[in-house]
């Protein structure tokens, strides 16, 4: 084996996978075909999963705080896991009020983020549908999803008013308190925006801008794309979409 043959072997054995597994998929993923609604659908034009919230900034903070270490944002197709069937992970089941919005994660779900936080491990629950799940579970409570998320970020073991018997929140959450996202300020003349948590006399806990961005991002995670119907090609459960 001469030096030249060796180097050539290295270049070839690395170069082929490099091209096929990195470069070409990269350019393919950049130019995904837009998905159009079929003729005769209730909506016309191109399907874009819409999100409201501070997605781009919030996504960066989500990464910097390392949330992806314990939470995933991936509803796998059934060949890869049972995520679709877990309550409220992949969307909402069909009830009297809403259609079945459960679906797998699409490449378009990450529109506006620099990197998709698919996650490392499920120490905590999947967050792909967190926003809608909270809305559903906080119905009738005085907490808004944003309040709940902020209180959870401040003290995950102190949040109440989550639906009793929910599958997601263990008795004792092992989520860390992200206290660095909050500031303790004197209540006197400090304006509003305080969390409803107990703290020192005369002081209040107020979320910093980072916490608000992160909370806004977290409640933007919804699998039903703000009520838009799915195009036929993405809908794996076509009968279920009919709302009576």
């Amino acid at each position: 084996m001469t030096f030249k043959a060796f180097i050539f072997g290295l270049l070839a054995s690395f170069g082929f996978p490099w091209l096929v597994a990195v470069v070409l998929p990269f350019s393919k993923m950049r130019s995904l075909e837009p998905i159009k609604y079929e003729e005769g659908a209730a909506v016309s034009g191109v399907f874009i999963p819409k999100r409201d919230g501070r997605v781009t900034e919030g996504s960066i903070i989500y990464g910097q705080e390392g949330c992806y270490q314990c939470h995933t944002q991936l509803i796998r197709p059934t060949y890869a896991g049972n995520d679709v069937f877990r309550d409220e992970w992949a969307g909402l089941r069909k009830t009297a009020d809403n259609a079945d919005t459960r679906r797998e994660t699409l490449a378009m779900d990450f529109e506006g983020e620099k990197v998709a936080h698919l996650g490392q491990s499920r120490v905590g629950p999947d967050l792909a549908n967190l926003g809608r799940r909270l809305e559903q579970n906080l119905k009738g409570s005085e907490l808004t999803p944003e309040d709940w998320v902020l209180q959870h970020l401040y003290n995950p073991r102190g949040v109440r008013n989550y639906r009793v018997g929910s599958q997601d929140l263990p008795e004792r959450s092992s989520c860390p308190s992200k206290t660095s996202l909050f500031e303790l300020v004197a209540l006197n003349g400090a304006g509003g925006g305080f969390l409803a948590v107990d703290t020192e006399e005369g002081k209040g806990v107020r979320p910093k801008d980072r916490a608000r961005q992160l909370a806004s991002y977290l409640i933007s995670l919804k699998k039903d794309t703000l009520g838009q119907p799915l195009p036929e090609i993405l809908n794996h459960n076509p009968q279920a979409t009919v709302v009576e």
Binding site: F14, V23, R30, F47, E111
Partner: protein, 110 residues
């Protein structure tokens, strides 16, 4: 054993060969950039097509209804009247009020 392989020239060449080798795929990334970054029609742009069509329709209709000659004529007329009403130097249209110093604040009572 061949001891002549090591000399400054050989080392110099070897350095550049090594540099070329280690940066090979970095260079390849940059060479392939036009291919990996080919212009693509994103979903957003595809969704904008309807919007653009509507916009074009409105623009066309407006263009059609715009009477350029009448517009030019009107501009000419108003321009002429503006030139005619040129202000005379030295004459002030609106008198300027004389500057007035604000009143001294009352000293705070102890």
């Amino acid at each position: 054993m061949d001891h002549t392989r090591d000399n400054p020239l050989k080392r110099f060449t070897a350095f550049w060969v090594a540099l070329l080798l280690v940066t090979a795929f970095g260079i390849a990334c940059i060479i392939l950039r036009p291919i990996t970054h080919a212009r693509v029609d994103s979903a957003m742009e595809a969704a904008a097509e309807d919007r653009r069509a509507l916009r074009a329709e409105v623009d066309n209709a407006q263009d059609k209804n715009l009477n350029q000659d009448a517009l030019d004529e009107a501009f000419q007329a108003s321009a002429a009247s503006l030139i005619a009403s040129k202000p005379t130097p030295g004459k002030v249209a609106v008198p300027k009020p004389a500057a007035k110093a604000p009143a001294e604040p009352e000293p705070a009572s102890e």
